[in-house]
Amino acid sequence: MSTDYKRLASDGLWDNNVVFAQGLALCPTLAVTSTATNGLGMGLATTAVLVVSNLLVSSVRNIVSPAVRIPVYITLIATLVTLVDMALNAWVHELYKVLGLFIALIVVNCAILGRAESFASKNTPLPSMFDGLMMGLGFTLALVILGGVREVLGSGTLFASASLLLGKAFSFMELTIIPGYKGFLLMILPPGGFIALGFLLASKRVWDRRKA
């Protein structure tokens, strides 16, 4: 059976998007998306973990009994994330200072276990890694959109402090959309996250229906 990579890509990025279609990983989604930059950082860190965890799970899928697969996957993923956390802290400390906050949150991301369970445990390593990459990028896309909407409405800026995450060269991304804006506190607090997510989910439904 050949793998339909195009299908995997469109599933991960849009049709079966982790946040917008599966409604998974809402905890990290709502917690960090007060700015687009935070969304981007969380999304990229999650993508990296998702690719590696899908690779691991798909490599051991034939020796893991279905009855104990969940504890095995959880051990794998939690170990992986902890190792990444320690290694980054020790050897790539500058990156750790920016991403460290997100890495601890990745352990509780059910989307990673979700992909291990529904895809990597039934497929060979290569398609699994590709699925992880696409799902991760779809997650990043959703977080950046949600973060962007909340940031523009909440503080009138877009990609604030992007240069802290990506380096000085990216300071051109930091935009002030509404100069002299007083801020709209609700959008930055968690309830604003739920409200924005609700509108985005509704918009996606409308968009998909129009296209169909």
Partner: protein, 208 residues
């Protein structure tokens, strides 16, 4: 055929038990190994971070010692042990640096404060906090210059009862939409200055 009635390997309980055990053992082994390998570098990085923050609040020309090397160990106002880093130049104490903790909107705000021997603030920086991004995080030096406005002030300047945010009748700016955060920082700085006033002799004593 006996093999047909036999349970497949993957469904046998002993196999599953051993599988889980092996997985846990491998995970534990990896974590132990990497923890061992990274403990030194992580401690080193923390030390460097501390040195970087110290350098931000104490100008280099003010001291000629390694401030991180021999901290004074005192008991803080909260009864917990407190590390005070002394900056010395030609055998005289020129700067005192320690960490002070305030409470903001979302938990602890750790701030580093540096005083000269007369109790004047040389500089102060927020080390870590969990305040709302976009509102409370204006206390970070990377985001606004709010925290730098404390430089040069002391417990008498402004008077002690003015060490509050404007909303509470003091003289420090709050942020629109975020009063609790700056209030917490100002309070912790005021407490640090009071701590210095009470323990001046101890803190200025030269360590051999």
């Amino acid at each position: 055929m006996t093999t047909e009635t036999k349970t497949p390997l993957l469904e046998r309980v002993p196999y599953q038990t051993i599988l889980l055990g092996v997985c846990a053992a491998i995970a534990a082994g990896l974590l132990l190994g990497v923890d061992n390998a990274t403990r030194e570098p992580i401690a080193q990085r923390k030390m460097e971070d501390l040195q970087v923050s110290l350098a931000q609040v104490v100008p280099n020309e003010l001291h000629d010692n390694n401030m991180v090397a021999k901290p004074l160990l005192l008991t803080g106002a909260d009864g917990k042990p407190l590390k005070v880093y002394q900056g010395t130049k030609v055998g005289k104490v020129t700067a005192l640096v320690w960490e002070t903790v305030g409470f903001g909107y979302a938990g602890e705000i750790r701030t580093i404060i540096a005083l000269d021997p007369d109790g004047k603030i040389l500089g102060t920086r927020v080390l870590s906090h969990k305040e709302t991004p976009g509102l409370g995080d204006k206390i970070e030096a990377a985001k606004t210059d709010w925290i730098t406005k404390f430089t040069g002030l002391s417990l008498g300047n402004p008077p002690e009862d003015q060490w509050k945010v404007k909303k509470d009748g003091g003289q420090f700016d709050q942020f629109s939409g975020a009063t609790i955060t700056p209030r917490g920082v100002v309070k912790s700085l005021r407490e640090a200055l009071q701590f210095f006033a009470a323990h001046k002799a101890e803190m200025l004593e030269m360590k051999p």
